[in-house]
């Protein structure tokens, strides 16, 4: 009997467990998946909780609900990977030998990385919304908040779901408008990037929206520390931004297990060096990495994990057969961007092609519009929760191509 071990039963790990269970002969292969607890969060839902649009119970399920029967689930912290001996060591001392290892240990927010972030004002006037606790605490705060300076800040450029802070900003604008106190709230978006987003056409669209909604953008602001006493953000070049309520996206890091295994990238963020096309770990041939855990230059998002999953399945099967791995991940990412008041925009891009306007997935017919806020895109965003629980986790094929398609997109030449 051979062993395939998956570390992490989040979106990426769970979908791989389902896909591999379906593809591998159960007489020949034993599949084991490890996670520290049995609580699966629908992370895209955290965005909606602060505004009361989702309730906490909408985003929580047991991990085991989505794992196929023939897969063994071990509820235990992983201490480290010992790649030289093809084994994983768990915190209780148990070792798991593997022929193939899939690392899907994700990314987490680490407010402790920034001086003064997790201090006196934490969960009083400073909140994150990337965790269950942060988003539910923020919901309570927003219920009674009477206005002032609301600052949304990204502590680092490399964060999971890079559009979520903008979505939060747009939803906050709509939330205070609906409450009738928008005129009492100054909203400032403070980012280490040079603009609202990185890719030019999406930045142009988003900047226009931010202007319309009277949201101030402070670009090129790299957070050094939070001064709790004076309630100001201070950058490495001593710029300051005052806040009454700070909604932060703290530094994101990969799992501490990666650090304990000595397998992290050189920036100290614990993401694992991974071949951006094959998804094989750089250090060990029989180790593969998927989802937020990799260091590949793609967004850290559920859609990316899904597209990677299709590629990873093929490559793991080729590897097992001793064949050349031919499937190539193209960096495909597909994200809805909530823009408030029941509308959302949609972006679709990859390593080479920035988000472009047009129709998705079919030319002319759409029905989704790219790079443009519409009601239908918002319906798509909400429908994604159902898709996530019922199709994505269980490894079903979604009606969206794995590789990004230019079909329906309008290129620069066509605009001119």
């Amino acid at each position: 009997m051979k062993n395939l071990v998956i570390l992490g039963a989040g979106a990426a790990g769970t979908m791989m467990a389902n896909k591999l269970h379906h593809a591998l002969n159960p007489v020949e292969w034993k599949i084991t998946i490890v996670d520290r607890d049995n609580v699966h969060y629908y992370q895209p839902g955290f965005l909606f909780i602060p505004f009361g649009l989702y309730q906490p119970e909408d985003v929580v399920r047991p991990r085991t609900d989505f794992l196929p029967k023939g897969v063994t689930f071990i509820e235990q912290e992983v201490d480290r990977i010992d790649g030289n001996h093809d084994q994983v060591i768990l915190s209780n001392g148990q070792t798991l030998h593997y022929e193939v290892l899939v690392v899907a240990t994700g990314a987490e927010v680490v407010p402790e990385e920034t001086e003064g972030m997790k201090a006196e004002l934490w969960y009083k006037d400073i909140f994150d919304f990337y965790t269950f606790e942060g988003s539910t605490q923020l919901a309570k705060k927003l219920q009674n908040w009477q206005g002032g300076n609301l600052v949304i800040n990204l502590a680092e450029t490399l964060i999971k779901c890079p559009v979520a802070p903008l979505e939060f900003t747009f939803l906050a604008d709509a939330f205070f408008e609906d409450k009738g106190i928008r005129d009492k709230v100054n909203i400032t978006y403070v980012t280490p990037l040079s603009g609202a987003f990185t890719k030019p056409k999406a930045t142009a669209m988003l900047s226009t929206l931010l202007d319309e909604k009277k949201i101030k953008v402070v670009p090129d602001f790299y957070l050094a520390r939070v001064d709790n006493e004076r309630k100001v953000l201070v950058s490495y070049d001593e710029q300051e931004v005052p806040f009454d309520l700070l909604v932060t996206v703290p530094v994101n890091k990969g799992s501490k297990m990666v650090e304990r295994s000595g397998l992290g990238d050189e920036d100290g963020l614990n993401f694992m060096p991974t071949d951006k096309y094959t998804l094989q770990a750089k250090k060990f041939d029989n180790v593969f990495v998927i989802g937020d855990a990799t260091n590949i230059p793609a967004s850290k998002a559920g859609s990316v994990a899904h597209f990677e999953g299709e590629i990873l399945l093929e490559n793991v099967l080729s590897y097992i057969q001793g064949e050349a791995m031919e499937a190539r991940f193209d960096g495909h990412s597909n994200c809805f961007i909530e823009t408030g008041h029941g509308k959302a925009a949609l972006i679709d891009f990859n390593y080479e092609t920035e988000p472009l306007p047009g129709k998705f997935p079919w030319p002319l017919l759409g029905p989704m519009d790219l790079l443009k806020p519409t009601r239908l895109n918002h319906v798509g965003k909400l429908a994604f929760k159902w898709v996530y629980w019922h199709m994505l986790l269980t490894g079903k094929t979604l009606p969206v191509p794995t590789h990004m398609s230019m079909s329906g997109k309008i290129t620069e030449e066509e605009i001119v």
Binding site: T157, S194, T198, D220, D237, D267, I296, P297
Partner: protein, 103 residues
């Protein structure tokens, strides 16, 4: 495409003034680029520039945090050496492409 003559060789720069071919870089050229950003290069600057060039040649995507973890300078010092957007400014002076963001 913008052609600009700096010192003797003919250099090809991209729209934002980044050197297209890192092999054309020389320390003199770096001083010239730096002067345009009102920076007088010291040995410490060159340590960082050489590190950036080596990492770029290895195909490593660069971030401010990575420079801060290089052991050469911390982030604060990096900002002091190359004020403004330190990674963008230093990349231009180092003759490597504008740092790409993943997202």
């Amino acid at each position: 495409m913008i052609m600009e003559t700096l010192l003797t060789p003919t250099l090809e720069l991209d729209k934002e003034g980044y050197l297209k071919n890192p092999a054309q870089w020389t320390p003199e050229l770096a001083r010239d680029f730096a002067a345009k950003a009102n920076i007088v290069l010291t040995d410490k600057h060159f340590d960082v520039l050489n590190w950036l060039r080596a990492k770029h040649a290895e195909g490593v995507p660069l971030t401010i945090r990575k420079v801060g973890a290089s052991g050469l300078v911390d982030i604060k010092k990096f900002y002091e050496l190359f004020p403004g957007g330190p990674l963008k400014v230093s990349s231009k002076i180092a003759g490597i492409p504008k740092p790409a963001s993943c997202i």
